[in-house]
Amino acid sequence: MNCEQIAELLPDYLQDSLGHDQRAMVEAHLQSCDQCGEEVALWQKLSLLPEEQPSPALRARFKATLDAFQEGCSERRGVAKEKRSLLSGLLGGGWLRMPAAGLAWAVLLLVIGFLAGRSMNSPSATSTPDMAKLQSDLADMRRLVTLSLLQQQSASERLQAIAQATAWSMSEQHADPKVLAALVHTLHSDSSVDVRLAAVDALGRYHNQPEVRKGLLDALQGRQSPMVQVALIDLMVDLKDSSVVPQLKKFEQDRDVNPDVRKHAQWGIRQLI
C-alpha cells in the first residue's frame, strides 16, 4: 500500500480502531516508510507532554464566584420581598379601611395595583428566581450531571451516576423522563454488566411508566448477559408483571439460551401464571 492509501487508515490506526487485517497492513507500511512512521511516532510522543495542573487558586475563585452568584440571587429576591411587604403593608393598613370617599380609595387602590404590577414586572423582579424556578434549575443541573456521568469511560463513575440519579429521583415526586431514557439506553448498551445490573435496579422503581416497562422488556429480548437476564426476570416476578411470560416461554423452549436463564425462566413462569 502507498502513503495515500495508508492515510485513509492512519487516523483509525492512531485510535486503535482498525480490524486485525487493516492494522497489519498499516504496520507493514510503517516499517518501510520513514515519513508515515515518524507521524505515528510523533503521535505517540505527544503523550509525553505532561498533563498540567491548574493552580489551587482556580478552585478558590470558582467557589468564590459561585458563592457570589448564589448571594446575588438571594439579594435580588430580598429586594423583591421588601417591595412586596411594603405593598402589602400599605394595602393591609387600617388607614385604608377608614370611612371616606369610596371612589377615591378605589382609584388609589387601582393606582397602587398598577404600580405594584409594574414593580413586580421590573427587570430585577422578573429575574428573581422563585421556588419553582430554582427547583427547575436544580432539576436541569442534576440531569446534566447525571447524563454527563453516564457517559464517562470508567464503569465506577457510571455506577455512581446511577446511584445519584436513584437518590435524587427518590427525593422528587417525578423522575426526569430524560434521565430515565438515558438509563434505558444504559441498560441496553453499556459495556459493563455491573452498570447494566445497576440500571435494572434503578429502572425497576419506574416500572409503572410505559417507556421504562418497554425498555425493560426489550432488554430481556435483546442480546444480554445471563446475569442481566436473570436480574430482569427477578424484577418482573417481583413486580408481578405477567406480560413477560411469552418471552419467558421462548427462553424455556430455546436450547441456545443459557441453562441458568432457562431454569430461571421456568421458575418465573410458575410464579406469574
Binding site: 492515510a7 492512519l10 487516523p11 483509525d12 492512531l14 485510535q15 486503535d16 492494522r23 504496520e27 510503517l30 520513514d34 515519513q35 512512521g37 515518524e38 507521524e39 505515528v40 511516532a41 510523533l42 503521535w43 505517540q44 510522543k45 505527544l46 503523550s47 509525553l48 507532554l49 505532561p50 498533563e51 498540567e52 495542573q53 491548574p54 493552580s55 487558586a57 482556580l58 478552585r59 475563585r61 470558582f62 464566584t65 459561585l66 458563592d67 452568584f69 448564589q70 438571594s74 421556588m131 430554582l134 434549575d137 436544580l138 436541569d140 443541573m141 442534576r142 446534566l144 450531571v145 447524563l147 454527563s148 456521568l149 457517559q151 464517562q152 469511560q153 430524560k178 431514557a181 439506553h185
Partner: protein
C-alpha cells in the same frame, strides 16, 4: 429554598471536579498561557450553568462542553483590546526522570505544537489529549467524521514539518519510536 439553591451550586461543583483538569489542559495546550487558561475554565463553568438547557440528552456531553469551551475562547479574544496580546509563556516541560535527550525532544515537540495553526492544533489536542472520539469531534466541529480524520492526518503532517523546521534546535531525521499502536 436555600437548600435548593445550594443544590444547583453543588451540581456545578460536581462538573467542576470532573472537568476542570481536562478543560484547563485544553486551553493551556491551545494557548500556552496558564493565567488565561484558568480564566477561560472559570468562564466555561458559568456558561454551562447559563446554557444548561441547550444540552440535548442523548448527544455526547463532552462535545457540548467543548463547544462551549471553543465559543468562550473565541469571545475572549474578540473582547480583548488589540494592544493586549497573549503570548505563550513557553514554560519548560519538566518531567522528573527523563534523560536530557528526552527533555529536549519533549520541549521541541511542545514548541512545534504551539506553532501550529489554531485549527490543526485544536483537532490534534481534542483527539490526542482530550481523548475525544472522531465522532465527538465531528459533532463539535459540525462536519463529517471523515473530514475529522483528514484534519487529524494533516495536523500530524504539519506537526512533523514544524518539528523538523530549521531553528527548532534539531538536526538529523527520524526519531522513530519502536512499538505500535495498541501493542
Amino acid at each position: 429554598m436555600s437548600q435548593v439553591r445550594s443544590g444547583v451550586g453543588e451540581m456545578l461543583g460536581v462538573l467542576f471536579d470532573r472537568y476542570q483538569m481536562p478543560l484547563f489542559n485544553f486551553f493551556y495546550k491551545l494557548t500556552g498561557n496558564r493565567t488565561m487558561s484558568e480564566d477561560l475554565v472559570q468562564e466555561v463553568f458559568f456558561r454551562i450553568l447559563k446554557y444548561r438547557q441547550s444540552y440535548r440528552p442523548g448527544t455526547p456531553f463532552r462535545a457540548w462542553m467543548y463547544q462551549i469551551a471553543r465559543n468562550t475562547r473565541v469571545d475572549f479574544f474578540r473582547k480583548q483590546r488589540p494592544e493586549v496580546s497573549w503570548e505563550p509563556e513557553m514554560e519548560p516541560v519538566v518531567m522528573p526522570g527523563d534523560s536530557a535527550q528526552q527533555k529536549q525532544e519533549t520541549d521541541m515537540l511542545y514548541r512545534a505544537l504551539l506553532q501550529m495553526p489554531e485549527e490543526k492544533k485544536e483537532v490534534l489536542i481534542l483527539s490526542r489529549f482530550q481523548g475525544l472520539k472522531y465522532e465527538e469531534i465531528a459533532q463539535l466541529l459540525g462536519c463529517e467524521v471523515n473530514t475529522v480524520k483528514t484534519k487529524v492526518h494533516r495536523a500530524l503532517q504539519e506537526l512533523r514539518e514544524l518539528f523538523h523546521k530549521p531553528g527548532s534546535q534539531r538536526s538529523g531525521k527520524g526519531t522513530r519510536l519502536e512499538g505500535t499502536i495498541g501493542s
